[in-house]
Symmetry: C2
Subunit: 144 residues, 2 copies
DNA sequence: CGGGATCCTTTCTGATACTG
DNA sequence: CAGTATCAGAAAGGATCCCG
């Protein structure tokens, strides 16, 4: 829930940390550009493929090729790269089975699972409100 | 809340729409790349500045210069552009006062407000779990 | 004050070819 | 099968100058 914000001089001129702190409620957040947790997370899930991969892994563990088939329009390069990033962030884990040919399975970690649980209301909002957005765009584009 | 997903053949080879439908619960979602509501929204809030602007406007209406000062490291160009995009999407409204010099005020619309309310749990998650992510990265970068 | 227009650099993404 | 390496185009972002 959002917290009541101070009025009057308010947040003006105090930098972003004050705002986030005010909105999130007293949490101290280092706001040195690269330290901002909000942007750090949003930049990742905002990527073109991250959420789609997490959704697939939420369903069940997947092998590399399975993911590739489940998300037909992803390139091999981006799949590899996104998986690496998510593994690096501790959102997914990678398990190699030394069979022949090799087999690699990806699965959601607890951290990744908690992220997608938190993310799902936002996805629901997107579905629910997409028509509003499209309509607003049409109006804006038509006359201004 | 997330829905139980079918096992067995599951989602493999059925395309992304099936997954989103399964996870979000029976909503029919056209998944032609540009039609996906989830990606459409995520691409926007994932931008470098969108969430920060929305947070500021959540606190109270802001004038252009106020926003610029509140977010010191944004360039004038990106501020203008992001505001236009959000206005186009119906998330914020723009009010011009024909004073001299001119004054323009931006404020959150109801739609924008509902978005940031939905978004705030995710921001809280980011704050709460950022240390986990940083730690995972350190481990990953150290050895693999 | 609130931008628009332009140029330039960085980052992202896709296509293609090759490998253990 | 599950990647790596390389290249090229597209897009995002920043710096600067200009205007009513």
């Amino acid at each position: 829930m959002l917290k009541e914000l101070p009025q009057g001089e308010g947040l003006m001129g105090k930098g972003v940390d004050t705002i986030v702190e005010a909105v999130l409620g007293g949490v101290t957040v280092g706001m040195n550009p690269s330290d901002c947790p909000v942007r750090d997370v949003l930049d990742h899930i905002g990527g073109k493929w991250s959420s789609l991969i997490l959704l697939n892994l939420k369903a069940r563990p997947h092998r590399f090729g399975e993911l590739k088939r489940a998300i037909p329009d992803i390139s091999q390069r981006m799949l590899t790269q996104t998986l690496r990033d998510q593994q690096r962030d501790g959102l997914i884990s990678r398990h190699v089975f030394p069979t022949n040919p090799p087999s690699v399975e990806y699965r959601l970690t607890d951290l990744g699972d908690s992220l997608i649980v938190t993310l799902s209301p936002l996805m629901a909002w997107a579905v629910d409100n997409h028509s509003h957005i499209l309509k607003a765009r049409a109006v804006f584009d038509d006359h201004g």
